[in-house]
Symmetry: D2
Subunit: 284 residues, 4 copies
């Protein structure tokens, strides 16, 4: 037996759920483990995630793409199938702040994140010890003073060489070029240290301090060409008071960053996220 | 067109979802608005809520019970159908603390709670003005010194006379008899002013203060014969500090009570709650 | 015995706390009930709130202003003394959404808000019933189509006639003129239905929905001439999901609005707020 | 210049704050950086934390204990002075769950925790790699099958040898003897994986799952001879749904455990905690 996740989006129509369920049972004798759906009434769109169990032989023998195409075409679906036995391959990008890196690696080691991490890329050498402790190759590609385009080419080559599926910017303090982002569309997750859309851009804790907010936040999101404007995946906040200095905000914020980034990564790895219209649908 | 909600529970089996969806579309030409499901893998049980839209004539002509019985029997379902056009009838019980009553009535008036409130029952006269302001008959049935059994008989007669579907204990400070509770099983919602199972019984804020907790909570739950032991519907908490006196805890707690009780009532009215094994399943 | 609150702000200096405490004990034989302080290290400023108890006769006989002036001048203080026996007089402004009004009035009646409410002003007739139920005169001053300047003059005359200390905009959907705001500086509290500074301006829930945020918020703040830019008093947030429509956001948001507005009003009435540099200091 | 924290508790009396402040300024020419106080009106007790800056020479020359004794005796104070330049020495106890250990060590390395960690003690070998990565000696003292009393003697000897001030049970799954606890009273911090007083004892997530709670929690507290009954330092909660299995609860709970334990440790290290009557006072 193996497990798989079917994620799909299409115009909302009658008979859709039954058609999908019938297909999975008839073709693969599937046992449905979880099914979640979402309708956007305004846009008339339908979103679904089905986690099912079936015979591994059957799944591989009866090529899913070939068989599902009939339904997918009929209902004009955008869809993908992910086998749970095939973990995604993740590359972490990091700079000199290591709290998100340390957190993700500890979760990875503890089995919270179902993935492979073939490499870590950094523009600072600081993360090398931690990467090495967790047995993951560390690529130091300094950006300051360098030819940014050349470095990006090298980064993309590394991603390609290692068969990477997902890039996680774990407090990587460089802006990726539009070309890079376009090529890795909805496959780059970033954490921004504010509750977006408040305080876009740099030094958001300083801006939050000056504005005198009573809550600080952090946001994980897919990266798009518009800085800090991509589809939001997760947000959380913590209370602050007048007694909190900017340093306190930064410290408290690190707890938020760890939480919202690790949730986003886990959800992506478990194929729980659909994105549309600059928004995300998160399936429990 | 009319809207309806089908809530059901049964042993988990293959083909279940497709069978239900097929039925709704084939028999009622239904448009599925929302569908939520939950599997309890350990117990092998399946829970579902389907909100659908169909022709009112069709729904009334083709008697649902008759047609659905075949499927319900085949899959051993416990189920119910609720038409959205038929609001539940609610009776509020209250004592002298009026914050939950005022909150529920304001929400009712604002259209947040899709129900009818034919009467309010109280063992104190304090709520009369508020009830009258919102145009709802108020029945003052004092309990102190009275014959409790006789009063309960009178209360149950009133519920019966007014065709009540749901009893909401909006800070009603009397314990209902086992007989009353049994007859109104899973149709009585109470709010307890602690995060259950901590601080069962009376004066929970005092107990929380003595224990020195850093969070206080409130819990809404269905009432069972075991005091404060019924299925939990909703809980929430607020932070407290050493600066908070017992009076502060009581005041802060009122905000929690309003929130968790009103959510529970709304979810019940929208047929979002299934209960099993002293737990609840809440459908978004 | 009577209670009083001393609120002050001044440049930070050695000996400040001892000087204040010595003064209160020496001059008024005061019993200190609570004392809170805050230092802004960057600006070198000191903020303090002292709640004390002393003989009422003594407090009135030995005129505080006269005696405290020596210390206040020496330390260049901005300060005020409020006697707890003299509740502030509050005017509520409301439009057609009544949830904040109903909430504040219920809290007022329950004794949570230590104030007098001599009048309610509205540009819609909807709140009249509620005001009358709580026994508070309701002034209906429609704004649509009217001469805004004339209406503001009338409003300010009413505030003056009734000796109002604080104006609370309980979802009052009109923008006050710069002149009004200037005259009532830091004496007008508004609730904005977003976590400022995100989503300033109108229809913030619609904007939040479009942006796909995972948390919605509400903010209470003092009104300044710059719309939604005044010193923030309190903020809170609630989680939303893709399942929430704009109507759901509006409904959930009402709970936030009630909470953050009522806290701000209570803190102001208890003299717990100091404002400086477009920020607030809140004393527990 | 050096910084120091004075923590004290005594019966509430007039003139107390002025006396303390006058003393610090007169004797040490101190600059008060923060001062927090708390009164327990019911018990008539006063609690204070003063963080001040003064000349290091002066502080060492004019022995604090000798000079402060006069005031301390007069007001019957229980007090202590901590110099910020003298970090506490912490020993972490851990078993095979390493998430709290990894979290505390990363915070330590990032400078969040102002302390020294001369050793880690564990009854499982699992934490050795992590300890060694962070350069901290790891003592493996297996408990299973061993002579518990002898092992405790060895543990206490190690604490003594390394001049340890604080023991942190970072998911140490052994119960310390009453003798150990008594000797290290209010110097042992534990994290319990429930919102105490709910779900004391073992396997609290399983108990929470069975009870069907809608929030799970974690609690950090000082260890006393009564298991899970010591003074609570910090608590936090996370929402759970019917979709969460026991494994999900355990995973979500780890985030809570990290947060509440690390806050408690930081507050202890910064001398922000006073305990009395099985409660704690936390100074911001």
């Amino acid at each position: 037996m193996t497990k798989a996740v079917l994620l799909l989006e299409c115009p909302d129509r009658k008979g859709l759920v039954a058609a999908i369920m019938n297909f999975l049972v008839a073709e693969y004798d599937a046992n449905i483990l979880h099914a979640g759906q979402h309708q956007d009434a305004e846009l008339g769109r339908f979103f679904m995630r089905v986690e099912f169990e079936c015979s591994e032989d059957l799944l591989h023998e009866r090529v899913f793409r070939e068989r599902f195409t009939r339904i997918a075409d009929e209902y004009q679906m955008r869809w993908k199938l992910a086998e749970s036995g095939v973990p995604l391959r993740v590359c972490l990008f990091v700079s000199q702040h290591l709290h998100c890196l340390a957190d993700l690696l500890q979760r990875f080691k503890a089995g919270e994140l179902h993935c492979e991490i073939p490499l870590i890329i950094s523009n600072h050498p600081d993360g090398e010890g931690l990467s090495s402790f967790y047995g993951i190759p560390f690529h130091y590609l300094p950006t300051s003073g360098g030819d940014k385009a050349a470095i990006e080419t090298e980064q993309m080559q590394l991603l390609c060489d290692h068969g990477v599926d997902l890039v996680v910017l774990a407090r990587y303090m460089q802006i990726l070029s539009a070309g890079f982002v376009e090529q890795w569309k909805t496959r780059i997750i970033n954490v921004h240290h504010s509750f977006l859309p408040a305080f876009v851009g740099s030094r958001p804790y300083h801006a939050a301090f000056r504005r005198g907010v009573k809550l600080i936040g952090a946001t994980s999101h897919y990266v798009t060409a518009d800085l800090d404007e991509g589809p939001i995946i997760e947000q959380d906040v913590l209370r602050v008071t007048q007694g909190d200095t900017i340093s306190d905000l930064i410290r408290k914020g690190r707890d938020l960053e760890r939480i919202v980034l690790s949730r986003a990564v886990r959800w992506h790895l478990e194929h729980r996220i659909l994105h549309y219209e600059n928004k995300t649908v998160i399936f429990d």
